[in-house]
Amino acid sequence: MKQRIEWRPADTLPERGEVLRLQGIPAGVDPSRRVLSIVESAEAVYLEIAEPRALVADISQEAFAAVYRGEGRNAPVTPIEAVVARADALALFVATVGARITDRIRTLFAENEPALAVMVDAVASAAADRLTHLIADRRAALADHAAGRGRLTLGYSPGYCGWHVSGQRALFACLQPEAIGVTLNASCLMDPLKSVSGVLAAGPADIHRVAPGYEFCADCKTKTCIGRVQRWPIPASAG
């Protein structure tokens, strides 16, 4: 069954360290007061105009296989197939922080405020990513798994890890996120821009450990596949 989820912007504000990381400022480096002031202004913009919401639906492995197959343009071998096969629960999702953020970013650029524009963009991107984890918290089947020892729920999206971006069409046909105001253009680009989509896979944390040795990994500029498993803490005693 589909579930529509809405949050207050304050409940989705990303960690400041993640926003700074997106700006190229590594952990452990203290940004200047001036930069911190821009972060605070960007957070204020987000809190004022973000409209975070999501649509999510549990999906069986068989049904997901059809969505994943999409238009048959995926890489021949991808880590997603292995993750999904070992997952205990799956859910399709689309989440967005709304269109007003993108509009404001464009306005800020036009008003010669590039530093704030790019910082608002970073806050919105980090918030959109955070929504995938917040969905898991609000979805019993996923949260139960995530809460257990050594278990983890992570999202995988068309356009990454060998899942061709054209897979968005099958995902959208199945979930119909137009209901929360997210549409797809001819290039498979989501509108609003600050939206995320994909499958949430819940299960033992180890299912998400991926060795980035696939052919498509060479061109990947994000390389967050290993880091994000480490970022979401797993109890030390977990096996």
Binding site: G24, F109, E113, P114, G159, N185, S187, L189, T222
Partner: protein, 213 residues
């Protein structure tokens, strides 16, 4: 310290009001607009670019400096135009048809302007014909194409082919960039350069603009 050094230092701190004030003062003192541009603004941005490459400062600092550069440039541009002073060159940039992402492209535009280029930003979702027409209309020697998606990357090839079809490949060079784009892709479609990020894009555009037609 000379006033040009003061301008460069203020720009590095991202003090836009101070830069504008110092540029005004330099002009009132009879300094030449070209000297202020190169000795103050571009010199300051050069230091900022170097510090950014060395990771001594970060993107927000660069963007604050860019805003300060614009504050000074706004005062100089009418004078430079009146005197017919050539810029580092003209670059047409945009996100290709079907792609609405523009943050990366905007950053490249800001960095190019900071390096002294005239930038014609066509925005996002730009058709191949518009890129080539704009390059001809503005006398641009470089077209910068941005794409974030594998589904929109093929449009880059359309632009390359259109430039060739019109026989402009010796006059107009093409640089590509964006999350999904790689050096291999640039070579595959016959683009002249690939920019991994905004800083490297500026270096590559500089080299392309120097390439004799």
């Amino acid at each position: 310290m000379s006033i040009l050094s003061d301008i460069a230092a203020s720009l590095q701190r991202g003090e836009d009001d101070e830069v504008a004030s110092l540029v005004r003062q330099a002009l009132d003192d009879g300094q030449d607009a070209v000297a202020i541009l190169h000795g103050g603004l571009i010199a300051g941005m050069g230091v900022v670019g170097e510090q950014f490459r060395e990771r001594e400062i970060f993107l927000p600092d660069v963007l604050l400096a860019a805003r300060a550069m614009y504050a000074g440039l706004a005062l100089l541009k009418p004078l430079l135009a009146k005197d017919g002073v050539p810029t580092a060159g003209t670059v047409v940039i945009g996100s290709v048809r079907g792609d609405l992402h523009d943050i990366g492209k905007n950053l490249v535009g800001i960095m190019l302007a900071g390096a002294g280029f005239d930038v014609v930003d066509l925005g996002s979702d730009v058709a191949p014909e518009r890129f080539v027409d704009a390059a001809c209309d503005h006398g641009a020697s470089v077209i910068g194409l941005s794409a974030l998606l594998t589904t929109t990357m093929p449009v880059m090839k359309d632009v390359v082919e259109l430039v060739r079809a019109r026989g402009l490949q010796d006059r107009i060079k093409i640089i590509v960039g964006g999350a999904a784009v790689s050096d291999a892709w640039a070579r595959q479609i016959g683009a002249d350069a690939y920019g991994y990020d905004a800083a490297s894009a500026v270096e590559r555009v500089r080299a392309l603009a120097r390439t004799p037609a």
